[in-house]
């Protein structure tokens, strides 16, 4: 059986990739995908612990996260489309209207 820390290491790596993606990429779609990656890395951690501890609560939580992520994907994509219609771009450097 694969030891627990393998899963955790993979999950941490995926999460770090997600964070770096969110922070460094300029395309809103890619930033969005990175967020999804972070969510899934967390899901992986939950599943791993659930299997390790024999506790189904972790799996239940994952279903919640997947549901929320689906809803969030719908809203997020809608926002990106709305942004594109207004600004003709999805480059987030040019979408800095959130300031004084």
């Amino acid at each position: 059986m694969i030891p627990l820390h393998y899963y955790l290491a993979l999950s941490a790596a995926l999460f770090a990739i997600g964070v770096v993606g969110v922070l460094t990429r300029r395309n809103a779609i890619i930033v969005f995908m990175s967020i999804e990656l972070m969510l899934n890395s967390v899901n992986l951690t939950l599943i791993a612990f659930s299997a390790y501890l024999g506790n189904p609560v972790g799996q239940m939580l994952v279903f919640f996260v997947m549901t929320v992520a689906a809803a969030e994907a719908a809203v997020g994509l809608a926002i990106i489309i709305a942004l594109y219609r207004n600004k003709q771009t999805v480059n987030i450097d040019e979408i800095n209207i959130l300031k004084w």
């Binding site: 964070v19 922070l23 987030i92 800095n96 300031k99 004084w100």
Partner: protein, 643 residues
């Protein structure tokens, strides 16, 4: 008895609520007038019932305290909403409701077609409620509630026609003046109450007055208490130096002047001092102050009244002067004589004011007596009743004023000093003179008005109260005919239980002086009064040029009197202007604009300047914010793991 005592004050309050809340909607003078005067009439009947009940019971059972609810309870302070019915308060309640009822009825005629008719009756009812609370209260706090309540009503009613011109300003200015001047007196009253609580640990009459007897005569605490309370009385009862508001209070409708500024409210100070007679008896120094202020006011105000031309102003100065007599009586320890004069004065002064109101009504608002003359034929009832009141206030036998004023002068001579007596006598002469100057110039002689004015007698609703008050002014003296004239001084004996403690404390006992002396004093004061009447009639009916001559020869003195000794101007220059100008130029321009506004605006500016730098952090780049989150999380994690 307890069950219906509360309705004496509750009914006028209900009348106030009905007229005040629904009067405008009802929009009916009939309904407002009937409710307004009806509730006071019922209060009067209830007061009479209690009075009759007191008459039937023995002298020692007459004091009756009715407790309705506990109003304030904090630590050792326990103040009840409780009324005290005793010989003094029932006399006051009868005067307030009786005279008040007549004036309410009169107002139905006087305020006819006034757009604020309902408002007027609402205020009058509220006044009656407050005044009854004042005289019936069994503790200082409740008395103070009534005290402030009547002050409020006085303010509202002086400024009733708030957009009308009066003197140099509007009636609102007069109302404000009355309120602010009274505030000075009320401040003293409040301090007096604090001192009473500190000294006695209670504010109930039935605790404080018995407890006072352990103090020695001349105790300095009692001296300060009585002096501070007297300051309140000086404000409310318009004595020197706080009398200046009362002449201006004539800006209100005439029934208000009759009810509030002649018969009832202004006598609240007299009542309060009489109520605290036990305390005053322990402070001979305050008694001297009371007597001196009273005597000085009596002659000072009377002298101003000699040359005024506004019919209501003459009566206002007359009221101040008569209140001075009452304080003179209190100051020499003749408490019941003061209350007796309060009662007769309520009758004849209310009558004088209502008569003046009928004249003003007939003359389309004119108030200058130089422009009247010969009104006797047009206003026969007003003329006759006015004459009764004028004879009563002048102190002509056998009208009521003779007995009450004579008792005061007798007591002033007997227990005070010759000086008090002579001052009082001088005031009597002046009173007779100015009242008959007023009567002569208004009702007698030839007509001096021009233009399209057709004076007519007032309607019945106004003349009937005049007639009733005339009867009272005539026979009111019966209550206090002295023994030497074959009477029983019934009022004096009735009030004796209330004042006996004080009388026993005083160094001088009220003794019956030699009868010959009493007759002599009566004849002197009667002679002086008749002399004043005759001189006034002679000058103003037959030889008016004498008056002009005198005014010319004594021009400076005449100017001094007709300008009221320039007291208003002196107060303006010494107190009002420094306060107003100081507020405008120093406090407003420097302190308000400079320091307070400067501090507020400066704070805002400082924050603005700092923000110019701080706001650069907000780039609007979402990834920058996300980076800050991540760095923050890393720090927190590091702290949790390694910290």
């Amino acid at each position: 008895m307890d069950r219906y005592t509360i309705y004496i004050t509750l009914l006028p309050f209900i009348g106030f609520l009905i007229n005040g809340l629904f009067g405008k909607k009802l929009n009916s003078e009939k309904v407002s007038g009937i409710i307004g005067s009806g509730v006071v009439g019922i209060s009067f009947v209830l007061s009479c019932l209690i009075f009759l009940q007191m008459l039937q019971s023995g002298a020692e059972d007459r004091l009756h305290t009715v407790q309705y609810f506990t109003w304030l309870a904090a630590g050792s302070l326990d103040i009840c909403f409780a009324y005290q019915f005793d010989q003094l308060s029932i006399v006051m309640a009868l005067i307030v409701t009786g005279v008040g009822f007549l004036i309410h009825v009169y107002s139905i005629g006087y305020m006819h077609r006034d757009p604020g008719f309902w408002r007027f009756f609402a205020y009058l009812n509220l006044f009656i409620f407050a005044m009854l609370t004042l005289v019936l209260a069994n503790n200082f706090v409740l008395l103070f509630v009534g005290w402030e309540g009547v002050g409020l009503c006085s303010y509202l009613l002086i400024g009733f026609w708030h957009d009308r011109k009066f003197d140099k300003g509007t009636t609102s200015d007069a109302a404000k003046k009355a309120f602010i001047v009274n505030r000075i007196g009320d401040f003293g009253f409040l301090l007096g109450m604090f001192l009473i609580y500190k000294t006695f640990g209670s504010l109930n009459f039935d605790t404080v007055f018995p407890a006072a007897s352990v103090f020695n005569q001349g105790d300095s605490t009692i001296f300060w208490i009585t002096l501070l309370l007297f300051l309140g009385a000086v404000g409310k009862s318009a004595q020197i130096p706080l009398y200046v508001w009362l002449p201006d209070a004539m800006a209100g409708p005439t029934p208000v002047s009759a009810l509030i500024h002649a018969a009832t409210m202004v006598t609240a100070g007299v009542y309060m001092v009489a109520r605290c007679s036990v305390l005053y008896a322990l402070a001979p120094a305050t008694m001297t102050v009371v007597a001196v202020v009273g005597a000085a006011t009596a002659i000072f105000a009377a002298s101003i009244g000699l040359v005024q031309n506004d019919i209501k102003k003459i009566l206002a100065y007359s009221t101040i002067s008569q209140l001075g007599y009452m304080f003179l009586a209190l100051g020499v320890g003749a408490f019941s004589a003061g209350i007796f004069h309060l009662m007769t004065h309520a009758f004849f002064k209310a009558l004088l004011f209502l008569g003046a109101g009928a004249v003003i009504h007939a003359m389309a608002g004119e108030q200058n007596i130089q422009k009247f003359g010969g009104l006797r034929s047009a206003l026969p009832i007003t003329h006759k009743t006015f004459l009764v009141a004028a004879l009563a206030i002048s102190g002509i036998f056998p009208f009521s004023g003779f007995f009450s004023k004579d008792e005061i002068l007798c007591k002033a001579f007997d227990q005070g000093s010759l000086l008090y007596y002579l001052v009082g006598l001088g005031g009597t002469a002046m009173t007779a003179f100015y009242v008959f100057r007023l009567v002569s110039l208004t009702f007698q002689g030839e007509k001096r008005w021009e233009g399209d004015i057709h004076p007519h007698e007032a309607p019945k609703v106004m003349t009937i109260p005049l007639i009733i008050l005339a009867v009272l002014s005539f026979i009111g003296g019966v209550a206090g005919i002295p023994e030497s004239l074959g009477g029983h001084n019934a009022l004096g004996h009735w009030l004796e239980p209330v004042f006996s403690v004080a009388s026993n404390k005083l160094l001088f006992f009220p003794t019956v002086e030699g009868e010959t002396l009493e007759y002599l004093l009566m004849i002197i004061s009667l002679g002086v009064a008749i002399g004043g009447v005759l001189v006034a009639r002679n000058i103003f009916l037959k030889r008016r040029e004498v008056a002009m001559d005198l005014a010319k020869r004594w021009n400076r003195f005449y100017q001094l009197l007709s300008n009221k000794y320039y007291i208003d101007e002196i107060y303006d220059a010494a107190i009002v202007n420094p306060v107003v100008k100081g507020s405008e130029r120093v406090l407003w321009l420097n302190f308000d604009i400079g320091i307070i506004d400067g501090a507020v605006n400066g704070t805002a500016k400082l924050i603005g300047v700092i923000s110019q730098f701080v706001r650069r952090i907000q780039t609007g780049v979402a990834q920058g914010y996300a980076l800050a989150f991540v760095v923050g999380i890393i720090f927190i994690l590091g702290w949790l793991i390694f910290g």
